[in-house]
Subunit: 150 residues, 2 copies
DNA sequence: ATTATTATGTTGTATTTGCAACTAAAATAT
DNA sequence: ATATTTTAGTTGCAAATACAACATAATAAT
């Protein structure tokens, strides 16, 4: 069976590295674009959902969101029915940055898929979604402190 | 055109997160397994090659290698013909850890590919290699300080 | 109704990551 | 032969990341 972990890691690091360099132009520091796009697309999302969506530790997400708030990109509102949760929304400033992120991501996607047929692109996307589903469970399991046996 | 950046990022973070937790058992701190496997498979590799292979900043690789050296996992030897480079080799201790890393990675790979047919697995692997090639050039380009226009 | 458990979020601390700037050897150009 | 550029590696700093431990609200169990 072929290994997919390594190419996936390589591609992910390369893309993330490129994005982080390019998003300095819109005053986003390392990693922040990840959170901001999700918040723009899911206004009212809560922290734990956000962390789970991105697959990042919740304390990392917490500090990223704190920083986005401090920089005026997002704002948090308390819920009326649930005093514990804090709903996260993009501000106007955050919404202005959003198209820039999308444009960059679309371009990187274009570069990544260069030379693949329409059919191949679709296959790749479909297969990656399956892999994402497969691995998500193990991530939650291991993060929750459980031990996989193999 | 479907987006592949997001699933790839999600999968990569999830897998890396799992690995980092599981490799504490063999006294590897975050990220170190990445370097150690490559060094074991390419004994005598130099730092810049290693960084480029993994797609990580060379200063990050430098510090990871320093730490692996301090912990007795790898050793560095100077080259006779080239005074500038330092060849990196695994130690016996490093070589002992290697099979553990491989076993964990193979298991994660298995989980990731669950439910995919042999044919699909092969396709996915082939397509990812193409994507890796596509994006590698842009990574080198942007890391070298150049600006992409899109 | 009270207790136990889970869900959501935060802070302390240690470590990793990477950009900037630098040194020096090697390779290339003049 | 000398000067220039590229290659390889390092250190200073600032920031991100995540584990541990915690607080408290919400939910479930008794």
């Amino acid at each position: 069976m072929g290994d997919i972990l390594r190419p996936i890691g390589i591609i992910a690091r390369a893309l993330d590295s490129i994005s982080n360099i390019e998003f300095k132009e819109v005053d986003l520091t390392r990693g922040q674009y990840l959170y901001l796009v999700r918040i723009c697309e899911n206004p009212g999302i809560i922290l734990e959902q956000l962390a789970s969506l991105i697959k990042v530790d919740k304390t990392t997400a917490a500090r990223a969101v704190q920083k986005l708030e401090k920089n005026g990109m997002i704002e948090r509102r308390s819920d009326v029915t649930n005093k514990k949760i804090r709903l996260i929304f993009p501000t106007d400033k955050g919404r202005e940055v959003y198209p820039f992120i999308i444009r960059e991501n679309e371009y990187s996607n274009l570069v990544a898929l260069k030379g693949l047929s329409e059919e191949e692109q679709k296959q790749l996307g479909d297969l990656l979604l399956k892999v994402e589903l497969n691995i998500s469970d193990d991530w939650e399991y291991v993060k929750a402190g459980h031990k996989r046996n193999y």
